[in-house]
């Protein structure tokens, strides 16, 4: 496969609206010029940028953006684990499997790090409840520990991970603890966390507005029939969620989310 063919394949991965507009001319440019390997990196960077722009300017509903942001921590952890496992397997092929003594020593260090981190975190939380829950140093410790643990498992230094004896269960348990820690951290540090929260609030508020508007309509119907109904309460609920929706939209606008929200009160 030539560099030019790879470049054209990358261009075909750009978002559809962009391709509808530019694919023909970009393909012509690629066919006309000498494409270098560094141009591929540039095209990939453009691909990521355009995909992100598309995500941030989704004109239908923000649910897709929320879904993507929601999956980002899991994708990050999967990529990190895959990279660590690949490194461990490569070490296994290139060098002898890690001696169990070395594996256990490193494992003990990793777990000791976990205990120290947890203790520091608890002390920090008690001293200053307003402190940021996942500071940068903690992120570095958790990510590198998970990476190291996975490399060790793949390298063979920690054998019988899935054995049914007590040690096997203990190893499984610590892997689970570290994975939970990593997942927790990823949800805290993932870019767009604030946006995800605002999108979730927006979706929830819009659903509530629809429900409460239906309640208002039914109240009017019952009142027309002479049956007392809590119209004021229903209307106040609509107003409350409308305020929450507007607040979420404002937060999204501050975060550069440019969706053109559809609906009766679209902005």
């Amino acid at each position: 496969m030539t560099v030019r063919a790879i470049a054209l394949a990358i261009v075909r991965r750009y978002p559809k609206p962009w391709r509808d507009r530019y694919e023909g001319e970009v393909s012509a440019l690629i066919e006309d010029s000498d494409v270098r390997v560094r141009d591929l990196g540039e095209l990939v960077r453009g691909l990521v940028t355009e995909r992100t722009r598309e995500l941030l300017s989704d004109d239908v509903r923000p649910k897709r953006t929320a879904a993507v942001l929601n999956w980002m921590p899991a994708i990050f952890i999967a990529l990190l684990t895959a990279a660590a496992a690949g490194a461990g397997l490569m070490l296994r092929v290139l060098a002898n499997p890690l001696p169990p003594v070395a594996g256990v020593t490193v494992l003990a260090l990793v777990n000791l790090t976990g205990v120290v981190v947890y203790t520091l975190l608890v002390l920090r939380g008690r001293r200053n409840p307003q402190a940021r829950q996942w500071p940068a140093w903690l992120t570095a410790v958790v990510v590198s520990s998970w990476f190291g643990l996975t490399v060790l498992i793949a390298w063979g230094g920690i054998s019988n991970l899935f054995s049914s004896d007590l040690q096997g269960w203990a190893r499984m348990l610590q892997c689970w603890v570290w994975a939970v820690l990593l997942m927790e951290m990823a949800t805290k540090i993932v870019p767009g966390r604030q946006m995800l929260q605002a999108l979730t609030d927006l979706n929830y508020a819009e659903e509530q507005i629809q429900m409460n508007e239906a309640w208002v309509r039914s109240c009017h119907e019952w009142i027309a029939k002479g049956v007392p109904s809590p119209l004021a309460q229903a209307e106040s609920q609509v107003e409350r969620y409308a305020r929450e929706r507007d607040d979420a939209r404002e937060r999204l606008a501050r975060l550069s989310y440019r969706a053109r929200f559809r609906g009766r009160e679209a902005t």
Binding site: E25, L29, S33, D39, E42, L43, G46, T49
Partner: protein
């Protein structure tokens, strides 16, 4: 005038390629390949397709360049009047920097 120069800076990593594209289109409309060759001849920089079209996308969104009808899969672009104003403002700002820099160098 200062605002127009700032507008170009708002393009982030595309601000320099965008400036080169505006300069390239200042004399006549050009398509992507012609722009790349012209920019390389003028500045010595070869813009890759990703950077070139990243900048073109943003310039077109802002209305600083306008697409012309496609000619055999190659679409030429021309500078709009707003793009001309932005380019002039940026060149004036750069001229001021060059003048100060030259003056200070002469003082050494």
């Amino acid at each position: 005038m200062k605002k127009a120069a700032d507008d170009l800076a708002d393009l982030g990593r595309f601000s320099e390629p965008a400036l080169l594209i505006l300069v390239s289109l200042a004399d006549a409309p050009k398509h992507g390949h012609a722009m790349t060759r012209d920019i390389e001849a003028v500045s010595g920089q070869k813009l890759g397709p990703g950077t070139l079209y990243g900048a073109i996308t943003r310039l077109e969104e802002r209305g600083w360049i306008e697409p012309l009808p496609v000619d055999d899969r190659r679409r030429p672009y021309r500078l709009s009047s707003e793009g001309r104003r932005v380019l002039r403002a940026r060149l004036n700002a750069m001229r001021a920097v060059v003048r100060v820099g030259r003056t200070r160098l002469a003082e050494l």
